[in-house]
């Protein structure tokens, strides 16, 4: 980054962490918000607030236009063929649930197979557990091989005529591994399966082109990319969305309603029951503009640089174990430190004003594959710099010293 982007983010000038500046290293959980996004939301509520798609007055038309411009902007951002294939949801979790409930429950049958991977976030696991329980579908998994990469031979082995869905995370929220989703989509389509990509950790950090990937569905969240919470996106191929049953019923998603029956609006409205998150969509558009102004290639390069620097700097700490591919493409670094539990690491860092995540990262099956109960995770974004990495390393060294193994004390027997 060629200028100090921290100045765009008010929180760094408001949050007083016991007199220390905030060093925010938990952007994989949620990113901070630039004033441009906060301003866009403020503008909407101050100047244009009205309900969308139902008003017969000018103010409502302006609000509707702003909401629909956001949809067009999202479509362009991920290179969707048409804006009708962009459904606004609450977040990536809801997007994935939408497919599981609306497509999975209605189209999967006993013995059908769904292939996931060992790296999935709970949001791409639990919905399929529910679908499998109701339909009798069977879940299979792409294994993780060396250097924290998916082993595509286990995908090839599992792909059969029974495979109906392959649903895989684009970038692991724990490892930062970028999965070969284009290749996965090609293999899955050859076998006649539908392809779903969880892009919650990719869209914020790198250029993404859904047509190039060739997936049928793609899910992501606004709040992990400088946007507000409560707005997410489901991209779906229009012909599939067209044939699909709705997810939630209510206003805006209908054509005609009779006492005992109804017929539905066309996509994307069929999947947007009730008043949507209008300000969220507008905030997301501002976030896209903000990131594109920096350039997604630059965002990615900056994160790789910080991630690599962190791997090198933290790698020198005694007793550290780093879970990150050698050829990493993101700014996520998970680690454990001998004798210091991740939750204790987090508390020690917090006392220095450093925010990281500690725990299972909503990926318990992956934790078991890695043979750890939990990890600590630092994740970098546009507003971080090498000094943040340096502060992280110094605080970690302090933690190692506090928890240095000692002999059993006589006084506390």
């Amino acid at each position: 980054m060629n200028h100090d982007l921290k100045h765009d983010f008010p929180i760094f000038f408001h949050w007083d962490s016991k007199g220390k500046p905030l060093i925010y290293l938990d952007s994989a959980a949620t990113t901070q918000k630039p004033r441009q996004v906060i301003q866009a939301i403020d503008d909407y509520y101050s100047k244009y607030n009205a309900n969308v798609h139902r008003g017969t007055y000018e103010l409502s038309q302006v609000a509707t236009d702003l909401y629909e411009e956001s949809r067009t902007e999202v479509a362009r951002f991920i290179n969707a063929h048409e804006s009708e294939s962009i459904v606004f949801t609450r977040n990536a979790t809801e997007s994935l649930n939408l497919i599981a409930y609306a497509w999975g429950l209605n189209n999967l049958h006993e013995g059908d197979e769904v292939i996931l991977s060992e790296m999935e976030h709970h949001s791409n696991l639990v919905p399929w557990h529910i679908v499998a329980r109701h339909t009798g579908a069977v879940l299979k998994f792409i294994k993780m091989g060396g250097d924290f990469q998916l082993d595509l031979s286990s995908l090839r082995k599992n792909l059969t005529a029974k495979t109906k869905i392959v649903s895989v995370v684009h970038v692991s929220n724990v490892l930062g591994t970028i999965n070969p989703v284009k290749e996965i989509a090609r293999l899955a389509h050859e076998a006649g399966a539908m392809v779903i990509i969880d892009g919650a950790q990719s869209v914020p950090h790198m250029p993404v082109d859904v047509q190039d990937i060739g997936c049928d569905f793609f899910a992501f969240s606004g709040h992990k990319m400088c946007g507000p919470t409560g707005i997410g996106v489901l991209y779906g191929r229009l012909e599939i969305l067209d044939r699909m049953e709705p997810f939630l019923g209510g206003g805006e998603m209908i054509n005609e309603v009779f006492p005992t029956t109804s017929n539905y609006a066309k996509p994307p409205y069929k999947f947007e029951a009730g008043t949507p998150n209008i300000s969220g969509a507008i905030g997301l558009k501002a976030a896209i503009e903000y990131l594109e102004n920096i350039g997604l290639q630059n965002v990615m390069a900056h994160e790789i640089e910080l991630g690599n620097y962190a791997a090198e700097r933290l790698g020198a700490i005694e007793g550290i174990h780093i879970f990150r591919p050698k050829k990493a493409g993101t700014g996520v670094i998970s680690f454990t430190v001998d004798n210091v539990h991740p939750h204790d690491i987090s508390t020690i860092l917090d006392s220095e004003g450093i925010a990281i995540r500690a725990g299972h990262h909503c990926a318990q099956p992956l934790m078991r594959t890695l043979q750890v109960q939990s990890t600590a995770r630092a994740s970098f974004y546009v507003y971080n710099d090498k000094q943040d990495v340096e502060a992280l390393a110094k605080a970690l060294e302090k933690g190692v010293a506090i928890f240095k193994p000692r002999k059993k004390a006589d006084v506390f027997k």
Binding site: H341, T347, A358, M367, Q373, I402, P405, R406, K408, F412
Partner: protein
């Protein structure tokens, strides 16, 4: 808020050298507790004879606060009645939440956790063992 208030010598000693660690082969009551936010997982088993805790052990994995708290808890409750253990738990909760500064001597080494009240995100860790013990009592009462 100093780290020394949290990671006291007693806590670090019990974390690195836990007391009563393990599983009782034939407990009269046992339970398993989870701390969803950080993945702590604790099992507490006890042998209660005539309303008195004759044996208490804990196992599992977790952070320094949850593990040392469970260790100190087992030391404290062995030899006490179930009712006394429950009232100790209640006193302990009040102390770590910062609601009561007048915790008596009966909390023993567990007063090492008074600093937890300054670290609200760690309260759940400190109370995990105690809550799991209370769950074990409940499961025993149902039998």
């Amino acid at each position: 808020m100093s780290l020394n208030d949290l990671f006291t010598e007693i806590i670090l000693d019990h974390y690195q050298h836990p007391h009563n660690h393990g599983v009782i082969a034939k407990p009269t009551m046992s339970s398993r507790g989870f701390n969803e936010s950080c993945g702590d997982d604790i099992q507490v088993s006890v042998v209660v004879r005539d309303g008195v805790i004759a044996e208490a052990k804990f196992s599992g994995a977790g952070c320094s606060i949850s593990q040392s708290s469970a260790s100190i808890m087992t030391d404290l409750v062995i030899g006490k009645s179930v009712d006394d253990a429950k009232s100790l738990a209640a006193k302990f909760y009040e102390m770590v939440k910062g609601n009561d500064d007048n915790y008596g001597e009966e909390l023993g080494d567990a007063i090492a956790f008074q600093g937890v009240s300054k670290f609200p995100v760690r309260v759940k860790c400190a109370t995990l063992g105690w809550h799991t013990l209370e769950e074990a009592f409940k499961s025993g009462e149902k039998k």
